[in-house]
Symmetry: D3
Subunit: 189 residues, 6 copies
């Protein structure tokens, strides 16, 4: 319903895009029924587009160690602390789907301390928020505490890396004024 533009910066026409990017976008559209605006906003810069989605897929498309739902949980929690409208709305929808839980995304976005989290999820969210908001003070003690709570080094890396990737993504979305697609708001409620 919003009549804001997708981005504060010009968005190229699909037919002006490099073939790989145009085909990726058309594939998404066919699969999802719409094109999330993040693809269109990044399309202005093909090299950054490719690097961003390579990063994204490396960290988000896996159930190895962290589940996909846990990965989305990190995205929603850290994007909320950075007040990134696009990421909270879009990944809130994905979290509702992945976690099969219609409330968790709203809870985490408003206040993680009041969210219905398992102990494991709370460790994940707390560490992710420290990387997102105060990474300068992450010390050996933080890693030791996570290891003591049962996390592997690869899981700890993944949590930090996802928080770092969305530190980037939130800033792109915020400086471009990226608009969430209407479809995300009501998805999987």
């Amino acid at each position: 319903m919003s009549d804001r533009p997708i981005s504060r910066f010009d968005v190229p026409d699909l037919h002006d895009l490099p073939d790989d990017i145009r085909e990726l976008i058309l594939g998404i559209q066919e699969k999802s029924g719409f094109v999330p605006n993040v693809f269109l906003a990044f399309a202005r810069r093909p090299a950054e587009f490719r690097a961003f989605f390579a990063f994204h897929d490396a960290l988000m498309d896996s159930n190895d160690g962290l589940s996909k739902a846990e990965r989305e949980l990190i995205v929603v929690a850290t994007s909320a602390t950075n007040r990134c409208l696009y990421c909270v709305v879009a990944h809130g929808a994905i979290l509702r789907i992945r976690a099969k839980n219609p409330q968790l995304a709203d809870q985490v976005a408003v206040n993680p301390a009041k969210a219905d989290l398992t102990e494991r999820e709370r460790h994940i969210v707390d560490y992710a928020l420290k990387v997102a908001g105060d990474s300068a003070n992450v010390t050996d003690d933080d890693l030791d505490a996570m290891r003591a709570a049962g996390f592997t080094d690869d899981e700890i890396w993944d949590i930090g890396a996802i928080a770092a990737l969305f530190a980037l993504s939130n800033r792109y979305a915020n400086f471009t004024g990226m608009r969430p697609n209407d479809e995300f708001y009501a998805m999987a409620r």
Copy 2:
């Protein structure tokens, strides 16, 4: 879906409540189909219950000056800055209904700067957030700026008063750990 209790403090049985409070609650249940947990959490303290809802009705049940939708907009914006889960979820639902807009509550809760607000709404939200978060620095200049933007003194008072009332309400909800009813999450999406 949450199995958290309604409140960290004991909630009295309906039949133990003073008549006026029990009847008010039963009336709400009949009208809404459920009892918002704020009524049950406050019922522990009848005098505070009566004072709180008297305050609430004095400020929220009016279209005089500020519309009801504008009043709910203030509640969602200030409750989000205070990270009050109950108030954002419950009043987010009411805002969706009052504003006939399924996206506005989520936008304002995540980041008012990115919300689709009219100029009038932006003035309301900015002033409300100053009262909510930095009232010590509200000066004559703030009131003059609101007057210059076309607001009456009664409207300016109402914005400040609603921000003040939910400063109270958010703290009650946060220290009692008040749980939003499941019904609110999906309402009017």
Copy 3:
């Protein structure tokens, strides 16, 4: 000595007020020798006036659990953190009287960490300041810690509720620019 107005908003004449409010104010004047400006500033809005003082009396006029001095201690500590001139000056005077201590209010207003507090008072002030300034992070652990320190659930509720009420009161006083009466400054020094 200040020649500031009582409030940035018009203050109604006594004879224009509803009977119950005018009589309440005249009763205060007879008892105290002056009318605290909070009564005059709120008189512009009879419904809010009644709700505010009902709330106030429910929480402040009791020695049940928390003493009246302890209740005023909460008011001064939280009002100072919100930098509310009216509330610190007016309730500072009342705290000096209730606690029979001419220094405590100034100490708490400037820096609770340096105030001469008993262990019980320090628990009260620390918890009240968390509700006042960071209620989003009040968790079950905070309540458990208070219970372990010997506080009943009703006392814990009262501390939070008083901090919440003055979150409201401080914001009203700050947005109206409420002026403390000259009488309060030197009272009970």
Copy 4:
């Protein structure tokens, strides 16, 4: 009335002090009727004692440019932002005397934005608070604005220098836990 010690660190006996310091302290006692605790707390370190009071006298004992009352106003405003109990209580008393105003110190300590300040005083306090709290961002523009408001370079230096001296003094008082003398609380009310 407080039974806290004067300082967290040992305070030497008067007769163990170097002659110049003992005589200075005895002179103060004769003149004021009591010895402000700052003299006793600093006496542990004669070299720092001499340097501190030399600094103090250079900046505070003058009506050249800034009046003595304006100098004390800076001390109270900046000491309150640093939440230094000793300095707010002791210099609050001196400000009441110097400004012949029993309310100004309390007003400035609680909230400078609500204090009854002249336009000149507001410029002084605002600039002093920037030096006290955010000196890293003092730029040429700040000095130009002060010059445009009619302040000489020597006055601007004095405001910054007093804010700087009490940044030191507040930290000494805070880390030593320096206790204000009872005499200061009620003085010149």
Copy 5:
């Protein structure tokens, strides 16, 4: 001289790396005389390694619009605000080389407000720091101000994108405890 490990996480042996990554690292070593630790720390995760350096090269290896020195200036300013030791030390060295200025990196790292910046550089740094530290409040007005100061949309995008990339990079370096190579400290002084 530091005997800290390169990273808190295991660093793979060169001969265990995928060919493209091993060859890239050996090429760097041949060209620079040493391997910056960022290559070794990221080598644990080949997909993230490739995405990160693709991102880096897309944004940093260009004199189109922003000069390479201006790009490094953004990195040092934003990495300092995030207190990322690796990035400030390593990119400080590169900035000294690119800008042919041995002081600029230290100035910007300590306090951009005191750095010897041209007006164009100050615009770049101020906007980059807003994206780095408060991207939620970047609005259309910020972009308009940059355009009015003579920046093209591609330059404005680049500043924001570099600030975003190092928001990611700083968090990776901070959570891995990435150690700057000794070589960087003294380079181009």
Copy 6:
């Protein structure tokens, strides 16, 4: 290389200075080969000049308890948190010399949590940063913790006092815009 003036305020000619100050400055020049700008900036105010350098010498020219290197470590850590360009650059050079370590100053200036500190140095820096940044919350517990870590009361006082002195010094340098001499940047790298 910077062409900024030494100070935003006029700097007197050497031959206009009181004899003691002129001779002290000439002595420094003969010994060091240049005159650190702090001497010239303070020369505008002879009484403050004398008090400041008396304070400085009392706290910095000693190996009693704290070593000179440890004293400079406190200066760099606290000056960095106050973002004082002059003090970080000038005392960074002195720290490199005193600690015979070319990296420590840069590490501490960017992020003490990542600096290569001994356990004793970490205690010193942590306590100094609390005095510098949050002295209002220094309590008896902080002193007891330092004593338990093996520090004498005189050492604890010295750490606090040096943090306090540079709270003053940083503010003077920041409000005067004191420029670091070019010589300091490359010294002892």
